[in-house]
Amino acid sequence: AQSVTQLDSHVSVSEGTPVLLRCNYSSSYSPSLFWYVQHPNKGLQLLLKYTSAATLVKGINGFEAEFKKSETSFHLTKPSAHMSDAAEYFCVVRYSGAGSYQLTFGKGTKLSVIP
């Protein structure tokens, strides 16, 4: 069975400081991993994805995530937070074994950016 744990429900950073949103996954097979962002009243937007190529993945808006198999982690980072980064972030895993393509979501981390 696959699952995703986002370790923080709420993270608050000052504008211009680094962002770290933590995610650990559990999967019996090599997973595909994603980070989605949701701004208020908007749909879920894909930030980046890992699908067994390079372990360091670059996404939109300056975000990055590193796949660490030994730690079963896929933490999201950004060197310098911007006010527009304030949103809810979801870590998502997809296990494509046995013909399943459904996404499994973490509970989400709400990011607040303080001016």
């Binding site: 989605y36 749909g43 399943s100 393509y101 979501f105 989400g108």
Partner: protein, 113 residues
């Protein structure tokens, strides 16, 4: 930029009533999905749909749920007899192929009274 749209943004209904949630996927996409998020809980997969049939469904997607692509543009989720616990945000998504990115709509908030 093409996007997935959903209507209505908020639906309020009485317990036992039928509701239909509507989605317009991106036009060249072939795979369609419904997810839901009960307040304070995770986003959960409900069902995926391809080539006019359900390709995968979760345990949540029981006989009171159905999906349909009634025409070339809409994708609907019907709940036959709503229960209080069906209150949630329902997200529609679509993708060009099974392994491609899923594009999500803004969601419909369903409130069952």
């Amino acid at each position: 930029e093409p996007e997935v749209t959903q209507t209505p943004s908020h639906q309020v209904t009485q317990m036992g009533q039928e509701v239909i949630l509507r989605c317009v996927p991106i036009s060249n996409h072939l795979y369609f999905y419904w997810y839901r998020q009960i307040l304070g809980q995770k986003v959960e997969f409900l069902v995926s749909f391809y080539n006019n049939e359900i390709s995968e469904k979760s345990e949540i997607f029981d006989d009171q749920f159905s999906v349909e692509r009634p025409d070339g543009s809409n994708f609907t989720l019907k709940i036959r007899s709503t229960k209080l616990e069906d209150s949630a945000m329902y997200f529609c998504a679509s993708s060009e192929a099974r392994l491609n990115e899923q594009f999500f709509g803004p969601g419909t908030r369903l409130t069952v009274l």
